[in-house]
């Protein structure tokens, strides 16, 4: 029982992974497959925000701007300059993360509310530049005809089925990166900053540099999600870069659970699919969502991951009066917030 209890997470992960591999076989409807792919792309963007907000405790309201820089870098290079997709995607990730790093130099001089509002301003200026620079970005009309990625060896990316695997691969890569960060010294220093900047500085963490690193990783991941979005959708308009997109990503993270590893995936996936099924209520979407955000932040600030964790702890306590030693340290880690 104990062995099963200890390994059930790995087993569950393996089951989910196998299911995700077979999704294109039992989802024959391209529309539903598209919904799932978009869910994955938004999950990647949400992982980016989680590194900054969830782990490091800094709320950036300019996330959509960096998503947009990734998307438009791929769009402009492939459509405007007929660059191949793969180098464009690489440039997109580098560009958004370098820009994030540079903006971080100034943005991270500010703290708390100032940082949130500064990044809100950054996001809005990025949006304005993209919307107004018609010669480069197509302005309000946008960019049409972003190509699918070129094939790698025998693998061709020519439809939703093959793109599904590509984006699943990037999602797994992102989750792996997030997991390694969370379990590394760097990740621990992020969380120390989240819990108390002064304390973190006192223990010898270079707070400024750590925050800057978190910001650059976060914007780089947002750029990756943007680049994948560009190739999958094939069309880019400035609206996707605007502030409401940031708010939606924030909502995904909030529903899933800030600072947890599974939160971004669960939140982004659940909310985007829910949106699709609620499409006939499109107009009421945000009327329901607004109060939902408020209720979550007041009563369940740790999101679904927090609820799940609480339920799990309760069940374990009931099953086993003496929790396994690794369990206590694990819960201490998550309770650290």
């Amino acid at each position: 029982m104990d062995a099963l209890g200890r390994h059930w997470k790995k087993i569950a992960l393996a089951v989910i992974f196998v299911i995700s591999l077979f999704v294109p076989f039992f989802v024959q409807n391209n529309y539903f497959l598209g919904v799932i792919i978009l869910g994955y792309i938004w999950a990647i963007a949400t992982y980016g925000l989680n590194i900054l907000l969830g782990y490091t405790g800094q709320l950036s309201l300019g996330h959509a701007g960096f998503f947009g820089i990734g998307a438009y870098t791929v769009g402009v290079l492939t459509v405007g300059y007929e660059f191949p997709f793969w180098p464009s995607l690489l440039i997109a990730v580098i560009a958004s993360s370098v820009l994030g790093f540079l903006i971080g130099i100034f943005a991270l001089r500010t703290r708390n509310e100032y940082f949130a509002i500064f990044t809100l301003g950054v996001g809005f200026v990025i949006y304005l530049v993209i919307e107004r620079w018609e010669g480069l970005t197509g302005g309000a009309l946008g960019l049409i005809g972003v190509p699918y990625p070129e094939g790698i060896g025998p693998i061709q990316f020519d439809g939703p089925g093959s793109l599904y695997y590509l984006i699943l691969g990037f999602l797994i890569l992102t989750i792996y990166i997030a997991w390694s960060i969370a379990n590394s010294l760097v990740g621990r220093s992020f969380m120390a900053i989240r819990n108390s900047e002064e304390l973190a500085a006192a223990t010898g963490i270079n707070v400024g540099r750590a925050k800057q690193l978190a910001f650059a990783i976060s914007t780089g991941v947002a750029g990756l999600a943007g680049g994948l979005y560009a190739t999958y959708i094939g069309f880019l308009g400035p609206a996707i870069v605007n502030v409401p997109t940031t708010f939606e990503i924030l909502l995904y993270l909030l529903v899933g659970g800030m600072g947890s590893l599974s939160g971004p995936l669960v939140g982004a996936f659940l909310v985007t699919t829910l949106f699709q099924f609620l499409q006939q209520f499109e107009a009421y979407r945000l009327v329901i969502l607004g109060p939902l955000v408020v209720i979550i932040i007041i009563f369940f600030p740790k999101g679904l991951a927090g609820l799940w964790h609480a339920a799990e702890t309760r069940i374990r306590k009931r099953m086993n009066k003496n929790p396994a030693p690794d369990e206590s340290s694990e819960s201490a880690k998550e309770e650290a917030r």
Binding site: R109, T110, A116, G121, F247, P291, I298
Partner: protein
């Protein structure tokens, strides 16, 4: 020169609207440390209330503004009680996120209830006055004078009345204010009421010049934040100076440079100021 003076007056009219809206925002921040991202949405609702009071009930313009201010004051109190009061001890990111939720709700609620079309607000002040060869719309003069009046009333309220002084007391020292028996709850509600009412007045004054539509608060929302950051979060003179400064910068850059640039100038200025002074221009230090 004529163009310059004309635009100067337009800038002052716009600036008084910005200042009124920014005052409400900075008051809530100064007293409650809440960056209320839903402020622009309250502003928008205020314009709609005035619009319907005018068109559906035929209430005179000035009275309609008063009604709108009262309704928004009530909405402000409700928002404070339901949303921000339960979060009073939460980390600052939670306030921002909750405010985003309120913003979503109000903005899309307006869209569902009243549609997304642009509405023109009728105002009795449609004439044009000729002063020294300048043609000035009456509505712009009404905006300027009404704003000055409201600002003066706010100043009098904060400095000369007991309820107003309790707000200032809480702003200066929360613990000290509670020690002398000031009810922080009442002050929180009062602050939100005043803040929302100021937003309603600002929106109702400018709506006959611009238009009424559900996303009318979006651009303003960002601008008022830029203003109060420039002025120092929580600083009342800062909000007024910042409001006029931004409006004049916008009006003149759209006249002499370009429209697109004038939209971005506030934010560019904001980013530059924050990059140099991370706590705003006139902040008293954290």
């Amino acid at each position: 020169m004529e163009l310059f003076l004309q635009q100067l007056i337009n800038g002052i009219a716009l600036g008084s609207v910005y200042s009124l809206a920014a005052l409400g925002l900075t008051l809530v921040f100064g007293v409650l440390r809440i960056p209320n991202l839903a402020h622009g949405a309250l502003y928008m609702i205020g314009a709609y209330v005035t619009y319907f009071a005018l068109t559906s009930y035929g209430i005179p313009y000035i009275v309609a503004i008063g009604i709108s201010a009262a309704v928004l004051a009530l909405i402000g109190v409700i928002v404070e009680r339901l949303v921000f009061h339960p979060l009073r001890n939460a980390p600052h990111t939670h306030h921002l996120i909750a405010a985003v939720g309120v913003l979503f709700f109000l903005q899309s609620g307006a869209q569902v209830l009243w549609g997304s079309e642009f509405r023109e607000m009728p105002s009795p002040f449609t004439g044009v006055i000729n002063i020294f060869g300048l043609n000035i719309g009456q509505q712009r003069l009404v905006v300027i004078f009404a704003s000055i009046l409201v600002m003066a009333a706010l100043y009098w309220f904060l400095k000369k009345t007991v309820p107003g002084q309790t707000i200032e007391a809480i702003e200066q020292d929360r613990t000290g204010a509670s020690l002398v028996g000031i009810d922080a709850n009442r002050v929180s509600m009062m602050t939100f009421a005043i803040s929302a009412a100021l937003a309603a007045v600002a929106a109702s004054l400018v709506a006959p010049i611009n238009l009424v539509f559900p996303t009318m608060g979006e651009a303003l929302n960002l601008k008022v934040f830029a203003i109060i950051i420039l002025g120092g979060l929580g600083s009342i003179p800062g909000a007024i100076v910042g409001g006029f400064a931004l409006a004049l910068a916008e009006v003149f850059s759209s006249t002499y440079v370009s429209n697109a640039f004038s939209e971005a100038i506030g934010f560019l200025f904001l980013l530059v100021v924050l990059a140099v002074r991370p706590t705003g221009l006139f902040s008293k230090g954290a």
